[in-house]
Symmetry: C2
Subunit: 338 residues, 2 copies
Amino acid sequence: LKAENLENIADLLTSFYSGSVKTLAKIITFVENERPERTEILQQLYRRTGHAYVVGITGPPGSGKSTLTGKITLELRKRNLSVGILAVDPSSPFSGGSLMGDRLRMKEISWDEEVFVRSMATRGALGGLARTTADIVKVLDAFGKDIILIETVGVGQVEVDIIKTADCTLLVCVPGLGDHIQALKAGIMEIGDIFVVNKGDHEGADHLCSDISMMLDMSSSKDIRPPILKTIATLGEGVPELTEEILAYRQLLQKDIETSLRRINKAKEEIIDLLIREISTVVQQKIFFDSSFEESIIQIIAREKDPYSYVKLITESFEKYCQDKFSSISNINPTNLK
Amino acid sequence: LKAENLENIADLLTSFYSGSVKTLAKIITFVENERPERTEILQQLYRRTGHAYVVGITGPPGSGKSTLTGKITLELRKRNLSVGILAVDPSSPFSGGSLMGDRLRMKEISWDEEVFVRSMATRGALGGLARTTADIVKVLDAFGKDIILIETVGVGQVEVDIIKTADCTLLVCVPGLGDHIQALKAGIMEIGDIFVVNKGDHEGADHLCSDISMMLDMSSSKDIRPPILKTIATLGEGVPELTEEILAYRQLLQKDIETSLRRINKAKEEIIDLLIREISTVVQQKIFFDSSFEESIIQIIAREKDPYSYVKLITESFEKYCQDKFSSISNINPTNLK
């Protein structure tokens, strides 16, 4: 980066720290578009992070996640907490992709200066989406948001990766979605710290609650048993209680003896992700135009070599490099860390 | 791998080369489940690959891709070509996930020994799915399949990555799907080598054809202008012509002066993908329990260090390692390769 750019970054950060929402939006765009300046900015911001409480809100389309997110935001505002909302969901009304009615309902929020709403494009960014989300959470955190709500749709791998960013995850269910319990069975239970049965006045809501409860009995590996709450998001019913539960969970986390270990592992995973991403870029750039690589490719296409052995060779050499670099590995007994 | 396992692999391959469909299925399962044996097997198989013609069939849900895949298969069988079908689509009738009617229609295929059908689970494997698909294509190729059809739904990043495996890609459109043209606009045109307007008797089919044609006029960067064909897959109408077009495209590819360069780049990308995957695994394993890494994490959590600078440091060291390893890089002028 040129000196000129670094100066601009300094200006940008001054404006950011003074609370300019416009600059906040600009920096998020830098991160989202992977502009080269982002790394310098994130490096600088990082020291101001660690304050925000990150809450993931996930569930199938039609479960009322967005409405719920809106109502929870209103409750948090009543408690004078500032809120950042990240909607990683193309159908979310926060993304402008949904019914007018929903969007009107969100108006109460959009008039509030202490609520920052950002929707993220999912097309194209897949793969890097979890990484980008984690970085944007840091930006919102450094900006001073007390609570960051991340809304994601569905329960695919990308969503699970995104939700790992959260300190607390709400799994929103609704009665009447046929194969939903099926989805829950497929290992998704584990990501829920709080279960919400929305549309609690619909037929089958109580049945769904007891189904979830039963499944938690069978499979939950958590120290804290996830509570199950009923809400009617459209009417705001049950939302104050849910908000209390969300905030109470934070208290629990802070007291929990396992939390610091969990935080370390989370930080590790995040940094390894970042590292893998950077190293991948280097591999791509360095090898693509290398002449010995070119030769090998020709031999591979001619079936004189096979790609798997070739990759194995390079990987083994890399492994040795890592061994030298992280020489202390063999001295560490993984079980000591537990 | 132990000597015992290697012996088993030799037996497995003997059975595979003799044409055992059961062994073929077993090896595919090894690849799909990332069993350690798979690398040795893929290394061995590789020399027998390079014969199959890989055709991707993609399009939105409800466009009739599966029915079309079935009918194309019947046409290929009439020409005495053996077929492998890979359905990377949870809603495909090949995956058993769809209407009974569709499944019955597929019966003609399932009775044919020269047609091997495999559906792939998309849940969980995301990210690695394109890699796994490419490996399974190699297995089917080595088994002696003349044509491999890959059916994928939609047009997300994962699908685009999968479709890169194909030599020829069919983009299936249908009249009446509102935002479909929108999706086409968003850069997806480029992956289509042949455009199929299915449900060609429905209202708006001709209109859709001319829309596609217009868009190709504006945006196509290909040397060979993709043809647009109308079909009615349920009745088999237009499918013989489409099959001819698919086979003709292969002839074109073989004659095309750019093809060998394209093949080299495709092989490069595939090997770099494989390499990145392997290197990522090494990074993950080596670093996670390293004590200096542990120390840095603690400093990062305490906000004494920031993760971005830390990652940058390691990446720069890695870059230097690559520089030594691929020393010829600086001597290569990328433009010479064109």
